[in-house]
Amino acid sequence: MKSRSEASVQGVYSTLTLLAFGLIFGACSPSENSQIGSESESILSSGKRITIALIPKKKGLPYFTSCASGAEEAARELGNVDLIYDGPTDGSPEKQASMIEQYALKGVDVIAVSPNDPEVVAPAMRKAREKGIHVITWDADAVTDARSYFVNQSTAQAIAYGMVDTMVQDLGGPEVKAQVAIVTAYLTAANQNIWIEHMKARMADTYPNLDLVAIKPSDEDQKLAFKVTQDLMKAYPDIKGFFGISSVSFPGAAEAVKQAGRSGEVMVTGLATPNSMKAYVQDGTVKSVVLWNTAELGYLTVQVGAALANGTLNPGDEQFVAGKLGEKEVAGDQVLLGDILVFNQENIDQYDF
């Protein structure tokens, strides 16, 4: 237990420390107070240097790293762009929102975010817009009033339909009856949940022969995705297809099918970068991988961000010239990247990301 003298010593410390805190904050405050706002204004009007913050859903995923390499290329080509690439390493939406708030305070010109959870991130994005910062989304969309443009590689619907269509094709056509299962990231993962909605709709409308028997979370853990797939194959012996709808669950699911010796008999498809799936595509476990050109996505995002900051892209434009990519279509408030890529045995070796 604390003695009286110790307690009073503590009291002295608290007072001293609080005083010191006050001094430091006081000393730093007044001189710089007006800087943030005015600085970004002046940059905007003169069009000199532009700072773009590119925020991925989760830093450290090869998917986003390859997007970032494209973004860096665009920044180099444009010359006047300072690119910041940072995101939560654990993929937490709350941390992502905090980062947006930080960049807004720092006074960057453009915040390009791939929202991990549109709802959680939206208030922070709106706040940033109120400060006069251009907020755009890329890779995944947010609530529409929270951003000015969406750099759209494909809509949630197109991705979901693409995966279901690929599966049906791999299984041998719409008349084949088959049980399928989805291995998702987290049960609460916002993007995956939207895809699942659309996938269910597609199966119900177009492919009544597909029977979705289970949706299982893998908690972004390859090991768990592996285990869950293994268990599903045993619990449902007739299962014919797996969707690995995150870049972690896809290789896990494919490995489980391969080790069970059912390559070619049980189909696996999903979203992943070609490098992590090359081995499975070559040995036939996976027939096709759905994705888009990630480096071009990053490139286009930075181009759009810079154009917004320079004032060369305005609402109502229908075309947008994006550096080496040439003209891209603008549909309302969406800049379209182009088609989905499907990697298979023939073409997967041409891609390295």
Binding site: K2, A7, S14, S92
Partner: protein, 316 residues
């Protein structure tokens, strides 16, 4: 003279104050914009929930216990309020229900600990999974949003330059400080941490105090959940994942002994400041999230190593 100097430094609080001051001074040199009041005020919104939950956690760890379930309790409370709101119940009623759920969760933990004598670590590990599981099940993992403007306003409003959540924290801090220093309960809490059996035999109602503390912890989690909802305008089953780790880090960094009996609220506040400023500044200045992990981990280890080395000097 020299021994006195060291004995002064061997208090975790003084070491932490020095560390914090040195760091703030350094930041002031490197990037003064970071320390502007406006910036700090905005950034502080990231810490209030953790800070609020750190208070009961301090008291619990002082008794030698721990509560790992606060993050999950948070999600359960948020889902309660969100679901009720979606079914047309006015939001204040929903928040009240959330508070009750938080209390019930804390009571559940406390009941196992005091009645069945299950170790707090074990039971809160179990409820950590169970509460989040219930939240996921009830909400079907869907987000609940669309709260009224007046509610989200709570998350942004400030009074006298400090966000409302900050005032709430200061109020709770004052209350806890009074309990710890101005009321006999504070002595009992320290006593339980030192020697629970002896305390029991001295006629103090240990069980009642413990039960109360765990209820308090659940309540604080529910308040944190409401703050989160107001700030992010969303209730979802995945909020508060890993929050318990942040809270416990702040508490042990503040010099509270994990075995109970030793530590102070002032130290915990310093721990919170240090962790918050480090985290925010690293991503502010370097924009590399992986550095953040490195910095926080090493800061925790270094600060305790220093405490230990200096404390050692004093005793030898």
């Amino acid at each position: 003279m020299k021994t006195k100097w060291f004995s002064w430094l061997s208090h975790p609080e003084s070491l932490l104050s020095c560390l914090t001051l040195v760091m703030l001074g350094w930041i002031c040199n490197v990037d003064p914009t970071f320390l502007q009041w406006e910036v700090q005020k905005e950034l502080s919104t990231h810490i209030w929930e953790t800070a609020l939950m750190a208070l009961p956690m301090t008291l619990i760890i002082l008794t030698g216990g721990i509560d790992l379930s606060i993050g999950s309790t948070m999600s359960l409370c948020a889902i309660t309020a969100g679901m009720l709101h979606q079914h047309g119940v006015p939001l204040p009623m929903g928040c009240l229900a959330a508070a009750l759920v938080g209390l019930a969760g804390g009571w559940f933990n406390g009941w196992f600990i005091t009645r069945l004598k299950v170790h707090p670590l074990i039971i809160t590990l179990a409820t950590m999974a169970a509460f989040r599981g219930i939240a996921e099940g009830v909400s079907q993992a869907r987000p609940l949003s669309g709260f009224p403007k007046s509610f989200t306003w709570l998350g942004q409003a400030s009074w006298l330059g400090i966000p409302l959540a900050g005032w709430l924290f200061l109020g709770c801090l004052a209350l806890c400080a009074w309990i710890m220093h101005g009321h006999r309960l504070g002595r009992y809490i320290h006593a339980i941490g030192y020697n629970e059996v002896a305390t029991r035999y001295s006629g103090i109602r240990v069980n009642r105090i413990l039960l109360g503390l765990y209820c308090l912890s659940g309540l604080s989690a529910s308040i944190a959940a409401i703050l989160f909802m107001a700030r992010r305008n969303t209730a979802k089953a995945d909020i508060g994942v890993g929050v318990e780790l942040g809270v416990i880090t702040a508490v042990v960094m503040g010099g509270v002994s994990i075995f109970g009996g030793r530590g102070s609220l002032f130290g915990v506040c310093l721990g919170l400041v240090l962790i918050h400023e480090t985290r925010e500044f690293v991503s502010w200045h370097w924009s590399r999230d992986e550095l953040n992990l490195l910095a926080l981990g090493s800061l925790l280890i270094l600060s305790v190593v220093f405490q230990q080395l200096l404390g050692h000097k004093r005793s030898s």
